[in-house]
C-alpha cells in the first residue's frame, strides 16, 4: 500500500522526472543533489538536462555519453508508469513525505525509491547491522534484537544482506503488529539482492519498507554498498553492530554514523572469534556494549513498563513461512532447514533423547559436558568429541537434542552454544 501521490499533474511531472534523472549514466547522490537544487525541482532539472543547460560537472571525459544525449533516449513517463505499476514510490528531498531524519542528513539520497510504508522511518529507528560471515550465536542475537526492538515499537533498520542483517529484519518481522523494519537496498527496490532473500524483501515490504536511492531495475553495483551504508546510518538514531570482522563492511556504516554524531554500540564477543574482532575493537575504543534489546532501549532513553532488565530466554528463531511457490525457497536452500529451525513434528524419540531435560542442561550430566565442550565460538564436531571424550554417537545424539531445544546451533558441521 503506497501513499497515493497528490493528484496534481505537476506532482506527476516531478515524479516522472525524478525517476528519469536517476537513470542518467554515472549519476550519484552528489551530482543529483546539485542538479535538483540548482534547477529547483525534478521537472525543472530534467528540462535543464534535456536542453543541455545543465550537464555533468567537471571536464567531460571522452567515451562518456553526455547527459543531454542520454536524456534524449529516456522516456520519463514509461519509467514512471512501470514504477507505479510495480508498487514503487518515489520521493525527494524537500517533499513532505521525505523521511524527516534523512532530510537533515549532510548527504541525503536526493531521490528515494521505496516499496511498502515509508512513514515507518519517521518512528524511532535503530540500525542493527553486522557481517554476512556471522556465527550462529551472532545470527541468533540479531534475530532477538530485531524482534525485541520491534516489539518495543522501534523501527529496525538494516541492509537486507545475508547473515546479521537478514536475521535482524526477520526478528522484527516476527514481532507483534507494533513492530516495523526498513531495509536499505543497494540495488533497485524491485531487484532483490541477494536473490535468496527475495522472500525476506517481501516480508520487509509488508512490515515496513524497502528503500533505495538506486533507480528501479538497477543492479547492486559494488560502489553502491558504501553509499547504502551511509543511508542506514543516516536513517537511524543509534547503530548496533552485532558481529563484524576487522575491516568489515559494517565498519563503514559505523564511520558514517560517527561522522553524523549518531551513537554506535556493539555486541561483545569471544576474543578468539574472528567475527567479533571488529565489534570488540569498537568496544575497546569506547562504544557502549549491547547485551540485549534492553541495553539499546536504555541507551535511547525509552521507559519501559516492565522492570525486567533482560528479556526472558527466547525460542530459536522461527523460520519464516514463505509464500507457496516462492522461487527463493528451493531445494538448494535445504541447509537452511538445519539447526536454527524448531524441531518439526515427528521428532523421533528414544530413551537417549528423553534423557535430556527440557532446560537442556543440568539434568543429563552428558548434556552439560557437551555444552561446555561446544562453547560460545563455532567448534568443529571433532573438537567437541575430543573434549567430551564420549563416543561420537552419544555426542551427536546430545547435540541434536540440544539443537532441538535451541541451546546450540550447527552450520556446515560447526557447532556453537546459543545460551
Amino acid at each position: 500500500m503506497r501513499r497515493e501521490p497528490a493528484s496534481a499533474a505537476g506532482r506527476r511531472d516531478d515524479e516522472a522526472a525524478a525517476v528519469a534523472l536517476c537513470g542518467l549514466p554515472g549519476i550519484g547522490p552528489v551530482s543529483l543533489g546539485r542538479l535538483l537544487s540548482e534547477a529547483g525541482g525534478p521537472a525543472a532539472a530534467w528540462e535543464a538536462v534535456r536542453s543541455g543547460n545543465l550537464g555533468r560537472p567537471g571536464n567531460p571525459r571522452p567515451g562518456i555519453v553526455p547527459w543531454a544525449v542520454a536524456a534524449a533516449r529516456i522516456d520519463p513517463w514509461t519509467r514512471w508508469e512501470a514504477a507505479v505499476a510495480g508498487g514503487i514510490g518515489v520521493t525527494w528531498v524537500g517533499r513532505p513525505d521525505y523521511p524527516s531524519r534523512l532530510a537533515l542528513d549532510p548527504l541525503p539520497p536526493p531521490v528515494l525509491f521505496w516499496r511498502g510504508h515509508l512513514e515507518v522511518l519517521d518512528r524511532r529507528c535503530v540500525a542493527v547491522i553486522g557481517t554476512r560471515r556471522c556465527t550462529p550465536g551472532g545470527r541468533r542475537l540479531a534475530w532477538e534484537l530485531g524482534r525485541d526492538l520491534a516489539e518495543a515499537g522501534m523501527c529496525v533498520v538494516s541492509g537486507l544482506a545475508l547473515g546479521i542483517d537478514g536475521h535482524a529484519h526477520l526478528g522484527a518481522c516476527t514481532a507483534g503488529p507494533r513492530g516495523a523494519t526498513v531495509g536499505v537496498a543497494a540495488s533497485g527496490v524491485d531487484v532483490p539482492y541477494p536473490r535468496r532473500h527475495a522472500a525476506l524483501w517481501q516480508r520487509v515490504v509488508e512490515r515496513g519498507a524497502v528503500i533505495s536511492e538506486t533507480a528501479p531495475g538497477g543492479p547492486a553495483q559494488r560502489w553502491r554498498f558504501p553509499a547504502r551504508n551511509r543511508v542506514i546510518a543516516g536513517s537511524s538514531e543509534l547503530v548496533v553492530v552485532v558481529e563484524s570482522h576487522s575491516g568489515g563492511g559494517s565498519l563503514l556504516t559505523v564511520e558514517a554514523a560517527l561522522e553524523r554524531g549518531i551513537e554506535v554500540r556493539a555486541v561483545p564477543g569471544p576474543v578468539h572469534s574472528s567475527a567479533s574482532e571488529g565489534t570488540n575493537q569498537l568496544l575497546f575504543e569506547g562504544a557502549g556494549p549491547v547485551r540485549s534489546a534492553a541495553d539499546v532501549l536504555d541507551a535511547m532513553g525509552e521507559v519501559r513498563a516492565t522492570g525486567r532488565r533482560r528479556p526472558p530466554p527466547s525460542p530459536p528463531p522461527e523460520r519464516p513461512a514463505s509464500p507457496p511457490g516462492d522461487p527463493a525457497r528451493g531445494s538448494r536452500d535445504r541447509s537452511a532447514q538445519r539447526g536454527s529451525g524448531p524441531p518439526p513434528a515427528g521428532q523421533p524419540r528414544s530413551s537417549r533423547r528423553d534423557a535430556v531435560g527440557p532446560a537442556g542442561q543440568g539434568e543429563d550430566p552428558r548434556a552439560a559436558r557437551v555444552l561446555a565442550a561446544v562453547g560460545w565460538e563455532p567448534t568443529s564436531l571433532n573438537r567437541v568429541v575430543a573434549r567430551v571424550g564420549l563416543p561420537i554417537a552419544v555426542v551427536v545424539a546430545v547435540l541434536e537434542q540440544l539443537a532441538a531445544l535451541g541451546s546450540v546451533a550447527e552450520e556446515r558441521g560447526w557447532w556453537q552454544r546459543l545460551r
Binding site: R133, A199, L200, A336, S340, A386, E411, G413
Partner: protein, 506 residues
C-alpha cells in the same frame, strides 16, 4: 632356416603368450619384424643386431624375417629382444634350436648384449606355457613368485646362449624366499586430538568406504590417510600376487623379495593425466594409479585441483571395481578395487571453513565446491571435517584416543571377517536391494532416518550409504543383528555436508 622361440607380451596387466618365428633365408641382407609390433618392439631390430654382434656372435648376412604370432595381438615393449635374438641365432645355426624347446624367453637387450629388467615379468611368466623361463637376473625373484615354473636367470645374451648349450652356468636366483616384513608405515598412535578423523579411517578400512577428508592446510589430513594401509588387513597371498602383477606391469619398483605384502598407498599428483591415473595409453595399455592402488589406498590430495574430466572418469571404475580400456582389436580389463581417500580444503581462502573463520565470498566458495561434482561427492560414504587439534585439548589425552594401529587393525580384521561371512567383499559393496537383508536396522534407527529424510537433511541415495556405514560401525562394535540407532547416528555424523552454502533467512 626357421626357428621358433616362445615368449609373451603384456596386455594391460595380463600376459599373452607369443611365438617368435624367425626365418633366415636367401635374399638381400635385411631384417624385418611383422605381426603388429609397436614402435618399441620394432626398435628391437637395432638393439638385437648390436647385442648379437657385441656378444661375439655373427650377424647373418641374409634376409631375416621375424613373425610374432598370433598376429592379432599388438606386441608392445622391449621384452621380446631376447627371444628374437635367440631365434635369429637358432635360425642361423649358431645355436641348436631344439635346445629352446620348453623354454620361454623374456628380456630387453642392451647394445652390449646385457639383459635388462623388464616391466611385467610376473604376468608374462604367468602367461608362459613352458616349464622353464629365461629372465634377466634382475627379474628372477619376481619370476619365481608363481612357483611351478623353472626360472633360469641370466645376465647377458652370451650367458643365455652358452648356458642353454650347457657351456655356462645360469645365474643364481636371488631371494626366492618371501622377503622380510615390510615397513608397516606410521602408527595411528601418533594422531592426537582427532577422534572423528580416527574413527573415519577405521570405518573406511573396515568397510571399504571411500573417505573424503575436508580441512584447512595443516589439519592432519595426509597424516590420517597415510595410516590407513597400516590398519587394513595384510594382503592374502592371492591379493599380494594381484598387486605385484599390477605394479610389475606398471613398471613400479617392487620391494625386496618382489612380492608386495602391504596394501599399496598411492599418491598421484593433482596434475596427473587421465592415462596415468585411470590407465590406458596409445600403444601399450598400462595400468594407472587407480589399478596400482588395488587392495590398498588411492589418496588424492587437493581433490579440487584435479581436472574435472579425470575425476569424472574415476566414477565408473570405482563403481565397477575395474577399468575397461577398449581398443580397436581388443579390450583390456584393469583392476580398480581400491579404497579412495581424498583430501581438500574447506574453501579457497585457507581458513578453517568455520562460519566466521572464512573470508571467501559465497560465490568463491560455491565455485570451489563445484570443482568436485555432486556425483563424485556422492561416492564418498564418509565425509568428515578435520581440524588441527587444539593444544589445550591435548594436555590430558584420553587413553582410548591413542590406540595403536595394531589394536585398530585387529578390530578392522574382525569387522572385515563379519562382512565376508555375509558373502560380500566389504560392506561398501552391499547392493542396495540387499540392504534390508544384510544391513537391517532397528525401529529407532528407521524412525531417525525417516525424520532426516523429511527434514531434507538426507537423500534416498545418501540413506543407503549411511546404512552401509552403520553396518560397518556395528561390525566394529562386534554387534550382530539389526543395527542400533547409535551406529546410524554416528554414520550420519560421518557424512557431513562440508560445502553447504551459507544460510539465508528465507
Amino acid at each position: 632356416m626357421l626357428a621358433t622361440v616362445s615368449s609373451a607380451t603384456l596386455l594391460g596387466v595380463e600376459g599373452c603368450a607369443i611365438r617368435v618365428e624367425v626365418h633366415v633365408g636367401n635374399g638381400l641382407p635385411g631384417f624385418s619384424i611383422v605381426g603388429l609390433p609397436d614402435a618399441t618392439c620394432r626398435e628391437a631390430r637395432d638393439r638385437v643386431r648390436a647385442a648379437v654382434v657385441s656378444s661375439g656372435f655373427k650377424w647373418p648376412q641374409h634376409r631375416i624375417t621375424v613373425n610374432l604370432a598370433p598376429t592379432s595381438v599388438r606386441k608392445a615393449g622391449s621384452g621380446m629382444d631376447l627371444p628374437i635374438a635367440v631365434g635369429v641365432l637358432g635360425a642361423d645355426g649358431q645355436l641348436d634350436p631344439s635346445l629352446c624347446d620348453g623354454i620361454a624367453f623374456f628380456g630387453e637387450l642392451g647394445l652390449d648384449g646385457s639383459l635388462r629388467r623388464l616391466a611385467g615379468t610376473l604376468p608374462l611368466v604367468g602367461a608362459a606355457r613352458e616349464p622353464a623361463v629365461v629372465v634377466p637376473v634382475a627379474c628372477a625373484a619376481e619370476a619365481s613368485l608363481l612357483g611351478g615354473t623353472r626360472v633360469l636367470a641370466a645376465v647377458s645374451l652370451r650367458n643365455v646362449v652358452l648356458a642353454i648349450a650347457g657351456q655356462d652356468q645360469w645365474s643364481r636366483v636371488p631371494g626366492a624366499a618371501p622377503a622380510t616384513e615390510q615397513d608397516p608405515g606410521e602408527d595411528l598412535a601418533d594422531v592426537r586430538g582427532q577422534p572423528v578423523g580416527r574413527l573415519a579411517v577405521e570405518v573406511a578400512a573396515a568397510g571399504g568406504h571411500h573417505l573424503l577428508l575436508v580441512g584447512p592446510p595443516g589439519a592432519g589430513k595426509t597424516m590420517l590417510a597415510r595410516r590407513i594401509p597400516g590398519i587394513l588387513p595384510p594382503l592374502t597371498r592371492a591379493e599380494a600376487l594381484d598387486v605385484t602383477r599390477v605394479h610389475s606391469a606398471a613398471g613400479l619398483e617392487l620391494p625386496p623379495g618382489a612380492l608386495v605384502l602391504r596394501p599399496p598407498f598411492r599418491v598421484p599428483h593433482h596434475s596427473a593425466s587421465m592415462v596415468s591415473l585411470i590407465g590406458g595409453g596409445t600403444t601399450q595399455i598400462r595400468p594407472g594409479e587407480l589399478s596400482c592402488s588395488s587392495h590398498g589406498v588411492l589418496f588424492l590430495d587437493e581433490l579440487g585441483e584435479f581436472s574435472s574430466s579425470v575425476l569424472d572418469a574415476l566414477r565408473q571404475p570405482l563403481e565397477d571395481g575395474a577399468v575397461v580400456v577398449c581398443r580397436a582389436r581388443h579390450s583390456v580389463r584393469l583392476p580398480a578395487q581400491c579404497l579412495l581417500v581424498a583430501a581438500m580444503n574447506p574453501c579457497p581462502c585457507g581458513g578453517d571453513g568455520s562460519p566466521a573463520g572464512c573470508r571467501c565470498s559465497e560465490a568463491a566458495r560455491a565455485r570451489y565446491a563445484s570443482k568436485v561434482s555432486g556425483p563424485l561427492l556422492d561416492r564418498f560414504d564418509l565425509r568428515v571435517a578435520v581440524d588441527p587439534p587444539d593444544v589445550s585439548d591435548l594436555v590430558a589425552p584420553d587413553p582410548a584416543a591413542t590406540e595403536t594401529s595394531a589394536t585398530v587393525a585387529a578390530r578392522v580384521a574382525r569387522a572385515r571377517g563379519r562382512a565376508a561371512a555375509r558373502g560380500v567383499r566389504c560392506n561398501a559393496a552391499i547392493p542396495g536391494r540387499r540392504l534390508d537383508e544384510l544391513a537391517a536396522i532397528d525401529g529407532a534407527s528407521r524412525r531417525l532416518l525417516e525424520h532426516r529424510l523429511r527434514q531434507g537433511r538426507l537423500s534416498a541415495r545418501g540413506m543407503h550409504r549411511v546404512r552401509r556405514v552403520a553396518r560397518t560401525l556395528a561390525d566394529l562394535a562386534g554387534e550382530e543383528g539389526a543395527v542400533a540407532e547409535e551406529h546410524v547416528l554416528a554414520a550420519l555424523a560421518l557424512r557431513s555436508e562440508p560445502f553447504a552454502p551459507s544460510r539465508g533467512v528465507a
